[in-house]
Amino acid sequence: MRMHLTLYIAGADTSRSISAKRRLDHLLGRLDAEVYLDVVDVLESPDLAELARVFATPTLVRDLPSPARRVIGDLSDVEGVTAALGLDPYLLHPEGV
């Protein structure tokens, strides 16, 4: 099963961007899926943020499988992220790894 995710951040080295990326890496490490991840810095590519109608950063968009889903924030609410993006079926390990 292929999955395409895009993480929109504002600046690569802000604390929010860094913690969002770290949490996402951790989450993806537990997924049993082929995941393509794009990271978009809206300060460098505002046109991509425009196309995706992203207004908040960080925003994580699951482009595939459709329908598209998204979450807003630094992903500190892991359960919220997995539920909203429908990631639970792909999780190899239960919460707490």
């Binding site: 929109y8 504002a10 600046g11 929010r16 969002a20 809206v42 300060l43 505002p46 046109d47 943020a49 425009e50 995706a52 109608r53 992203v54 207004f55 908040a56 950063t57 960080p58 925003t59 994580l60 968009v61 459709s66 329908p67 598209a68 889903r69 998204r70 979450v71 807003i72 924030g73 630094d74 992903l75 500190s76 609410d77 919220g80 992220v81 909203a84």
Partner: protein, 511 residues
Amino acid sequence: MDLNIPVKSPTGIRGLDVITAGGLPDGRITLVTGGPGSGKTVFSMQYLHAGVELGEPGVFVTFEDQPAFIGGNVRSFGWDVAAMVDADMLRFVDVSAPSGGEGRIVGGFDLSALAERIKTACDEIGAKRVALDSLGALFARLGLFDPLERLEMRTGLRELAARLRALDVTTIMTSERTSEASPDLDYQLEEYVADNVLMLRNNLDGERRRRTVEVLKFRGAEHHEGQFAFSILPGSGIAVLPLGEMALETPSTEDRTESGSVELDAMLGGGMFRESVALVSGATGTGKTLVSSHFVLGGAARGDKVLLLAYEESRDQLFRNARGWGMDFDGLVASGQLRVECAYPEGMSLQRHLARITSLVDEYQPDRIVIDSLSALERAGSVLGFREFSLALVALVKTRGVLTLMTSSSAELSGSVTVTEGHISTLTDLILLLRYVEVAGEMRRGVAVLKMRGSTHDKAIREFTIDGEGMRIGRIFQRVGGIVLGVPHQVNPSLDDRLTTLFDDPPTADL
């Protein structure tokens, strides 16, 4: 002491620039708040469209409707959104709900993406204006019922506001007022982001909707206080009616012109003033339409273009009446000197009536206007609405410098003051009274000049007769009192005396 009084930039929305005393404070953020259907999106788009007309590009940040949808909605106002976008005079920042729905909040965030997108759009076209419509829609989508309780929103909006100020753009930001009683969100937005507040209302007044705009706060800047009526009109969008603000400031001219009756001109001390507003008051059948018709002919004879707005009689009736007095309205219409427009008073709201008159005036560019009758329009609105309509109408004709004659029907046959007259008499330059006078058991007509601003005039009450050639003004009624008050009585009841002296004054032609 704050000496930092903001410079204003004209919005290009005519009446709005009057009530804001010059426009919105330059480089600042103005919150435009209003309930559902109060016209916020139209206001936003019109603000940007007016900017484009003035050569100022604008950015529309939409949180609710998609750009294509907005473009379709405002097409009826004559605003070509696609053309403005193509000409790099307009950019959309689309923050409408993404396909698949809005995301839930799963941690700390900021509004950098939004700020960056707005900045990019502004930079691309050199925007001078930004409209955000509306933040409330975004909050609702995120399920944030008290959005400013979240630190991220407070910080985000404050940062956004700072970015906008730094961009040197003048911004309006709309906000949904869910209830007049709980404007908490507005107050908070106002505190965090806005320098100024405009409020749009859409209230019921009697059985009619009445839209108003009010400047609630203009930090450090002059403005007019109170609620001002506005209309949303097909073909032009929002039109604010600044009422008396304009009417009383306009200069009047000393030039005289023909009323259409030599005898009436004599009573007026040499004719009507050009650019003046006259009111002809009288009960039904006293000859108001006849005076109007003479006024039409008098104008046409000197080459004026005349616009006749009829609210009581059909076109056929009017033309037939005129023929009966030997007046050829058909010929005047054919030569382009007369345009007759009939409308049913109850057929539309007073705001629509005013809009229609405005567009007719703009289109036909008349030198004279007849409104027969103004009082018929009372039926199209509430008392307050009619008062505002009358004021706005006078403001319109005064600013365009059009000589205007309005008629007013009094309910009682013998006269007395009507609502119409009570509202408009102070705004008119000339008031002509037509009254029934009972003399020796016979009904006769009398005419008097009650007031003429800036001129001496005949103070007498003269007999007014109607024949196959129209109106005739004759001699003074002697020894009859109370005509103006509507209770004519004989001053001297002696029959012999009255018969011998009734018309013992010189005829008007000798005045």
